[in-house]
Symmetry: D2
């Protein structure tokens, strides 16, 4: 099945000559072919989106949110269908996929509040008889470039805010997992967005560069690896665009000796191995402070080995495959590197053999490396796979110093029952999303998703008020109306 | 048909011994009997609402808004049905009723944004190591007392915010127009609000006093006449409650000589005669400045007489009856008073004879009194009927002085093409809702409905952020966690 | 020395025939006579304030804050002088007085931000071509009625916001401690507030009632006892005014067994005995949970007896007298009542004998009653003196139930090192100001001072955004300017 | 006089080998030599600023604003001195310089409100028992690069917010006008900022590039030409920094036939010729609509020729020189180009001869070119000098189309008395700062300075809330504290 682009309300065959293959990571079954659309199709989408902008921008916000309310209802209606599609193209479990769609819907919900969120400010009498106010007007045509790991959620970190504020959008989903957003676009169409307001162009690197260079596109939102995020930020900025580019991570998670044993073990394991480790908020470096080492090491080990792998749609399955064979190989190589750097292989997931129906699946079971060196390469490299690195710190000071020495700043989590440890941690840990007894500190849709350091490039983050600010331009109006003029009557 | 109370998710027969009659104002047909519930039923509702509060308050805001999203969808689905019910029990036209329901829905839409609207504030380091934050927690059981003129809209100025913020509610609709809210409650039930969260108790003055005196009820929202609003404010305050009580109005509307002729004539007439004049934002005193007198007097006269009266559900009908025979009599008496005070009767709507099918209807056609004296009694008395008082001011200064001499401050409207006149008007006119080339300056749901002077008693108004502030208590938390405590590990 | 009223920028002799005596509570030395001004002087102040309002309201906010910036600088310059005056008329220690002035200044600092805080909101295109905005305009003449216990701070919870938002003010300080505000007014005069913007009328109950009844006064802010606060709320509301009335308290403070021993002992003692217990945020009922009883009872006892009493201006003094002989008697009576109710007198401060120079002072040393019954009368009566009631709860559930059974809701404090206990406490404790390891949870000036239950009557609290909302009326403007009108050119 | 850098609280001799000359543009008198500091000195400043950040960041906001309050007072005290210094090094008139300092102070005033502006948000119960909040933490070391035309104001668009939010700063003033900020830094030193919090490094292009490349510097704020702004944005973004870069402008100003004649003539002339045209909000293309041509052309001509040139410190002088001989030459060339493109030279300011004392001054009198072609090069080129281009549009449609065809979007102004024209203009004109009967629509300090299109690169603008957002990183904290943990007691 060759996918089509959606431009100006029409599903259009791409003139692409190259394609990416979409396959079920658990079975290897080919699901679709994604066209790597040429720049000319980006140009067509930009032109049509710019035309649609003229009227969409003049549509009152209270009208613009009506399709969003319908979209919310439609996504609830197609909740299971969307979740299943995520499982098929991404490999995660149905439970994980459901959580993902819930998060997507929450962003639609928040964007339904645009009439209030978009309000500007007024000051009467900045001087006698002179008033000043600030309104927000949309930016124009904006683009969203999304990754493979949350095909149903990440587009919605941006899309609802972009359209609700009056922009028209070009969406480029991951070429490896484009099917969920195909459903998403179909639902948006059914929800009643006018033609040209939401467009989707499939593609790869060349397509992205065409977006970055296109003069009609005023803003770019991106989530992906740090290397690409840097490229996006630099190139889009050189072209004068607004940019928000979210990169990779290497999230530390710190366990204190006073942490709740049962809860911590469960949550930590879920954080590391959930979504097969393929999320930018997965915990990776587990730092055990002092006596926590003895308490938690065996428990984590035990919980890891008990994790049930399989096809994400099957009952009882707790973990699916990684996205591709290439990815599996890369992760295996990193495990090897960890061992070479002196780490001890407590649990080796590489030997996992799936049942025959899944023999083409890219499975890798939970893996635990102990005594990973804080100054080694593994401790600094994003694995994006189900690998837990255990590290042992003497005390909180050392643990926080380790955290803050890292290149990334997406998340830092802490497990403790102590209010004092928690306060110090959240005050000092250099990461934008902090979890206290939380394994995956994903901000709710009404908070900005706040990566720091090399996990984010730009100024304004995804979601909520940051989204509104990013997708609108402030316009200041200073008005003088002489009182004398009212005297003519 | 005897109406039932809705308490704790159950429709309950009232032990009332007195009843109000609900009838179609256009035909006199009896539609229902409203029980004037005794205090014991208020007490039952308060007790059950307080029990429901325990869990509802602990339900996360993101969950509490789910029934609101459903309610929005259900109200869209039952849009026509609700509008028709309004026509039947209130008498207004179907177009007016539709506009009313649209406004009701808009408030539901805004309240869907509660997770964001309800956010509190945090300050890190108010002193070294000490943080402070403010959260909002619901007030408890709150009551809403609504009037007859907007049976489908005014309850929604309050209800969505009250429940979304975590309160449980006792609703008392007008005993004359309770049927629309009966539908409203049925839709809320279908939307999934838990039992006891929304309750409805029918009744009259005694029922209201029971609400004002009940210690479990923490806040009262009211819309009605100024006399009753004053009573509500005084009595509820004496009982220590939060109160917001919206009263009557006598809205001035000012036409400048430079006003757009066609648009102004149409809008002004609609403002005065729409809803048969029975709205708190109806223009009543039309002040013609200078040369506007000659331009607009004949046009207003002509437009008034052409207005088509009839049953609100019939095609082409532009105006329905007033609510009751008693009301019709009162209005006729006020017209008489105007004439006695020296006004000239340009158009006399009292002589209108309805078709025989509507001969029991309380019809009164558009009436225009010219040269109404600014210092007479008519110019200061709320008519709440389709009567336009024309007044002639020499200039803008005089007109604004007239406006500001009034007792009420619900609305003041201006018609002009001049930016300078508009600025001066909005700066100086003492009313909380200002229209510039707008006949009925009803604030959108994301703004507070801002009556001033004797049009409002309390501090925080209906709708939006004011609603959230009114229905929540701020709770300040100051926290100290010594850094030393984190050193034990 | 007979004090004068300050009306319209002039210090005016009052025609009062009755006077209150201002004396140093530590020595009995008479400092001044406060006139109990008759209603006619309230009327004069209201009239002059209304005249001043005309221009002050039209003075741009950026200009209105200039005297506030000067006032901040002047208060820093006269910091010690003001603090000493507080000591003289109130009796507290110089350290406590300094803290008080610091808080007063912080409110001036926050009110310097009025241009931003007072901004309204704008929505472009609520419908095609129609815009809506909300501005804030001042209320008019407002009154502040202040208590004796923080003569230099409480007026500033209101004053800076009231004037910065464009209102003119009538201030009535406590007739027992009017001297600090006399200095305050002198500084405001020096700071450049125009005549009539700030006025001060001395007086007692009759003066207050004149304020509550005066039609020109639109809003009343009060801090005092609950009985008077209720009166203020009821009477001002019956007169249609905005009201915020802060009442008394009976603050519980809960100590968990895991609390930091040294810090807790010190802070708890300071909370109970600081300002000789005469503050609405003083802890009164100290609830020791479980094993905390054994740990803390002897330490609290020891710390209490070591407290050094004397004249607040003398070095090393940690506690001053209570405000009056009458007050001392009342407190002694309450101690007696506690004993009658079965409490054990661990420390009896009634026997304290001051040095001869202070023999006329109203001294009462720290007193501790143990095993005070939660259902007795003492545990529910505000003492407003240096008396600590110890109570012993089996567990957190019981302790929180005790707290929530109380009539008041000004403050509830908790001492623990556990994050879990803290979260539960702040979620469940029914009080508006929560302290976690904080003895006196006074909100910073940029948060509302959030009393609950019988500690507060009204809706909007003192300080910050609540002050701005309380002292301004929202005005909504809906504007339509037809595009066609721009075509004439 | 060779200027020194100010690093770590010490005035340090620069090792620069190249220098820029600072001279009085009106007399040519050399005032100082500005070192073009080498990268090593940027590095030293960055290192010291990073050290100072450690403690400054931990200083509570209420403490951090204390030096700002002192700075406000000091700037008022040295108001005239600072204004005179601006005149000397920049050439503008003393009146213009005073206005500039007033604007600088206003930004200090707004930044005094940081404790409130910096507050984060809290949501209780994002799920049962889980809370989430957002705090703002400073970015670290930030840099400001300022232009010559407002040496005393533009640094304060950034500085007060940067330090108040807890960052430490490296300031690079224009090498042509560094003296005013030298005074500014001296005042900041006197105001009590700790060493290393504010630093100043003089320099040129190489110095700026060192700033853009330095890894310790996390954010860059710039105002200057569009060419340099683009460079700043691209290079700083390529280095992963936050950037806000304000560029040039070519501001259209539209006069309708109904505009107030006297006021418009005066304000328009002031906008074009004020500061000798050297401001980014100077009107440049004056578009006369329809009959406005006949009314205003002669009046503008007359007003232009009457403008009194001279030394900015001399009484009665209305206009000073341009910044340099080079600049004068460039402007003269542009006038020539305009003539070549077909414009008519109504007033030629190039022939102006200053009095002998100013014969070395770079004077150029007001110049008016009529019938400048909208599609010519002059109409698109920023002149940055006292040159008015008159253009004649048939109607409003044409005029707005002309405006929106431009490359820049700093300001668009309109003169009219019609509310309808104003609304349409502010809705449609593509510029971020709109003036209605305002010649220089500079936003007050409590609004963002909102350039659009090629007048701005980045997302968040200077001043107020945008400044706070730009200079802080959001940090999200998600907290779970199990209720069970509180059961242990």
């Amino acid at each position: 099945m060759e996918l089509k682009n959606y431009i100006g309300g029409v599903w259009r065959h791409s003139a692409a000559t190259e394609f990416a293959t979409v396959s079920d990571p658990a079975t290897g079954e080919v699901l679709a072919k994604t066209p790597l659309s040429p720049p000319s199709e980006v140009d067509m989408a930009a032109t049509i989106a710019a035309e649609a902008f003229v009227d969409w921008r003049r549509t009152p916000p209270v009208k613009r949110i009506q399709p969003l309310f319908k979209l919310k209802a439609l996504m609830e209606d197609h909740f299971d269908g969307m979740a299943e599609m995520i499982v098929l193209e991404n490999g995660k479990t149905i439970g994980e996929a459901r959580g993902e769609i819930r998060r997507a819907i929450e962003n639609v919900e928040v964007a339904c509040g645009i009439p209030l969120m978009m309000q500007g400010a007024v000051s009467e009498d900045i001087a006698r008889g002179i008033d000043e106010f600030m309104i927000r007007q949309p930016v124009g045509v904006v683009a969203i470039v999304a990754p493979f790991n949350f095909p149903g959620m990440i587009p919605f970190w941006f899309l609802p805010y972009a359209v609700a504020t009056g922009n028209t959008v070009i969406m480029k989903p991951s070429e490896r997992t484009p099917l969920t957003m195909q459903m998403g676009i179909e639902l948006m169409e059914a929800a009643g967005f006018p033609r040209g307001v939401v467009n989707m162009v499939h593609g790869g690197a060349e397509t992205v560069n065409a977006i970055l260079d296109h003069p009609t596109i005023k803003a770019v939102s991106f989530v992906g690896s740090t290397a690409v995020a840097k490229h996006i930020y630099a190139r889009a900025a050189a072209n004068g665009k607004r940019v928000q580019a979210q990169g990779g991570a290497k999230n530390p998670l710190l366990i204190m000796p006073d942490a709740d044993v049962e809860m911590t073990t469960k949550i930590v394991t879920d954080s590391v191995f959930g979504n097969s480790g393929q999320r930018c908020l997965a915990a990776s470096n587990i730092i055990l402070v002092g006596a926590a080492k003895e308490i938690f090491t065996p428990l984590l080990q035990k919980t890891a080995v008990s994790r049930v792998l399989g096809h994400g749609l099957d009952d009882g399955v707790e973990m699916g495959p990684v996205i591709s064979g290439q990815s599996k190989e890369r992760i295996s190589g990193l495990i090897e590197m960890g061992v070479r750097e002196g780490a001890e292989l407590l649990v080796d997931g590489r030997s996992f053999t799936p049942p025959s129906a899944l023999k083409e699946g890219h499975f890798l079971a939970p893996t635990i490396l102990d005594n990973v060196a804080i100054d080694g390469e593994l401790s600094r490299t994003e694995i994006f796979g189900p690998v837990m690195s255990l590290m042992h710190a003497a005390d909180l000071d050392e643990a926080i110093a380790w955290i803050n020495s890292g290149q990334y700043g997406n998340m830092a989590s802490l497990f403790t029952t102590s209010g004092g440890v928690a306060r110090r941690f959240r005050y000092e840990a250099q990461a934008g999303n902090i979890g206290i007894n939380i394994g995956v500190a994903a901000p709710m849709a009404f908070f900005p998703f706040s990566g720091w350091k090399d996990s984010f490039f730009g100024t304004l983050h995804a979601q909520s008020g940051h989204g509104v600010e990013f997708y609108t331009q402030t316009k200041i109006v200073v008005e003088r109306w002489l009182k004398e003029w009212s005297r003519q009557f």
